[in-house]
């Protein structure tokens, strides 16, 4: 049995017939080329699959495609506007906030959520805000610096 869903991903509308059990992350990754959203675990622990669903961060591995019907999803590919990197992307680049890059899309979108709800976080608040996103490369040190820099840049916008 398949059901029709329509999801807008990064501003483009996709209508597909999907199995009800299809996870949102697979829906997105199978659209053809939008593979920036990563799958790091099966248990909603690692946060690599974080996307924005109607502007709010969710784990796309714990969300069914049918639940996103009629919604707008922003993935890492949709964060830069008019070819200009989002301040979070700039900051992760400037502060060496990534190494292998696999957790990075989810990390940046989780940080986006953090700054949406808490625009001027302390380091402690950044760490608490990102505790659900695993990174094995950076030890989080430079991720914290990146988010701190992005918060500053976004405050000035």
């Amino acid at each position: 049995m398949k059901v029709p869903v329509t999801v807008t991903v990064n501003g483009r509308r996709y209508a597909r017939d999907v199995e009800p059990r299809l996870l949102l992350v697979h829906f997105i990754r199978d659209l053809g080329g939008i593979t920036g959203t990563k799958i790091g675990c099966d248990t909603s622990q690692c946060g690599a699959c974080t996307v924005l669903l109607d502007g709010v961060a969710v784990r796309s591995c714990t969300c069914l495609a049918v639940q996103a019907d009629g919604s707008a999803v922003t993935t890492i590919e949709g964060l830069a506007e008019n070819g200009k990197l989002h301040p979070l992307q700039e900051a992760f680049w400037n502060k060496h906030g990534l190494q292998c890059g696999f957790c990075t899309p989810g990390m940046i979108l989780a940080a986006h959520e953090l700054l949406r709800t808490k625009p001027k976080p302390t380091d402690e608040e950044i760490r608490a805000g990102l505790e659900g996103n695993m990174c094995r490369c950076t030890g989080y040190h430079n991720i914290v610096r990146s988010v701190r820099e992005a918060a500053g840049a976004m405050a000035g916008r």
Partner: protein
Amino acid sequence: MATSIFGSGIRRREDPRLITGAATYTDDLSLPDMVHAAMLRSPHAHARITRIDTSRAKKAPGVVAVFAGAEIDALQAMPCAWLLPNSNLKVATYRCGACDVVRYVGDIVGVVVAETPYQAQDALELVDVDYEPLPVVTDPVSANKPGAPQLHPDVPNNEAFHWTVGGGDIDAAFKNAELVVKERIVQQRLIPNAMEPRAALAQWKGASGELTLWNTTQNPHILRFLCSVVTGVSEDKLRVIAPEVGGGFGSKIAAYPADFITVFCARKLNRPVKWTESRRENYQATTHGRDHVQEIELAAKKDGTILGLRATVWAGMGAYLSTAAPGIPTILHGLMLSGVYKLPALKEDVHGVYTNTTPVEAYRGAGRPEATFMIERMMDKLAAELKMDPAELRLKNMIPRFENGHSVVTGLSYDSGDYPAGLKKLLAHVKYQELRKEQADARKKGRYLGIGLATYVEICGLGPSQVAGAIGFQGGLWESAIVRFHPTGKVHVFIGASPHGQGEETTFAQIVASEIGVDVGDVKVFHGDTDVTPMGWGTYGSRTTAVGGAALVFATRKVKEKAKIIAAHLLEAAVEDIEYGDGKFAVKGSPDKAKTIQEIALMAHVAWNMPKDVEAGLEASMFYDPPNFTFPYGSHLAVVEVDTETGQVDLKRYVALDDCGPQINPVIVEGQVHGGVVQGVGQALWEEAVYDENGQLLTGSMVDYALPRADLLPNIEVLSTVTPSPHHPLGLKGIGEAGTIASTAAVYNAVLDAVAPLGVKTLQMPMTPERVWRAMQQAQGRA
């Protein structure tokens, strides 16, 4: 200025694709007509397969094929590539698909291929397998005893190997000892947890008999070689591509049955086949690390002088020997046991033992963290026994400064080091005496602070190929680089190593820019494709910069020599009269008479006016085999506070001082230290792969396996000293594993230091609140 690019913390060239989602990892690839494989894995740790029936699965929707283990017969057994000499090594048969006995939870018994990954997963449940359970053993000490369940028919006591290392007069050391401290340490089994799960995509081109394998590997050239051996596809028709690879930490060194089964399916079906492991599979079947039980004795004099170290280690190898596994608890461990100290005598026995668990492999540090922990734990224990300050004891026993070679008791010759200077700099930075006073004051107020030190020296830059051969490594350990100038002076660099997050696309461009004066942005580094790059042995053991970086320097210098000859010809001067500086080749004494490297590159390509007997083009290659290993080192310090009510450990401060020689890009070096340190902290405080008595992995998901999280960690202070390696052209030593090697011991020593006043003498890792609390209760007689 171009020459100052060396040492500059420029932003990484890799990052734009990674921060925008444009990077392509193996699982991001799709090919027309592609189908999906799912591995059927044993739910039993040890069992005989009495029946396997794939008929129901074959009829499931979307299923293209199902193969039971016995039907995957076209594949040779998995090769073990580190055949330890003088060790009575017994390499048990490791089939790609088990057909009679399974030996760990995760052993592959079959494969399903279907049109979608969901359909493949569904059909797995329809394969009917009958198992007759066999007795299980999971810890290496029990498995090594007579009468233990035996995994392989021809391996008594499950002993895969017995290896020894020694030097000096160990009996005399213990005879002359004024005191001996003993300890039993469990280096618990760890799961590497690269964030990207492993994946393989195989494409068979039946008409030409060519096969392309995209794989999450740290070493595509080794994988091509092993894939050729196992699958029978000849090497010239086999292309292995490591696209973007999301971390490895050792777990992507090995060749794996699942990869070759994917190749097998692609050939059988003549369709591209993709396999991507789930995290659960990753925990069950991608290699683990550590798993040592260590019994250690340290002989010393009352003034703190150490005399000898004697140890027996049982190293759990898992159910089979993974590709490089035998070398990890032996060569990379035992040879480093004397650490940074003047240790006159050593004897270690290592028993590598098969157990009903996931095979182990290198895991960040690979043998060296286990060695560092042993000696650093014993130094602290000795200090406590002697009521000496641990820093003072270390300084007393350290090898003094040396610049070009120092032989240690294990037979290695360290390249260069100034261990006391590093430790003293660290102690000065933290104001060690004041810190101790702060600790004493806190104790008066009922707060339990602990200060832990660890010093280390590691063996990197693997290594001279002649030595590799002598120690049983079934390959060479040189690296390669090609530097190719294009007509406009832009440069392509091709390297045999295969970085997967370490940033060599940036640092290697910095090397070229610094050597030959091109803009760093004009250098592009290619890696990870066996059809494109020269042969190389891969990225592990902190060797890419130490060995591959040297190859690149020499290749660039070859280009420079040729450029000089062309410049001399164009400037009508003698070659000896040309000098290089800042990207220009000028006639000595007449700086106006000069050619830029870009001008020379153009002339070399149009070749209108070349010197006699000089070929057109401007490129060079280098296969560099180092004369020795490199030996980075350092001293780390951790400050913790233990909540005596709950046993909770709070890591309050961490200071790392590392010496990896000159730093190409200090920002990248710091990043390597941060990540390394946190991985070692994870072992000390949180991480452990736990099996139950039936061999079920209890920590089978990220819910149960406690990875370091952002909110549990402090910022990390990074210091350095710079002691160039005498044998590397730029003095570089390697930094990838340093943090992990030191930090487990530093944090352990800190936690024990915190609770020692309560009478706690030893702790078991990971030092979870429960364990610390119980140790305190026991010490206080409240057990």
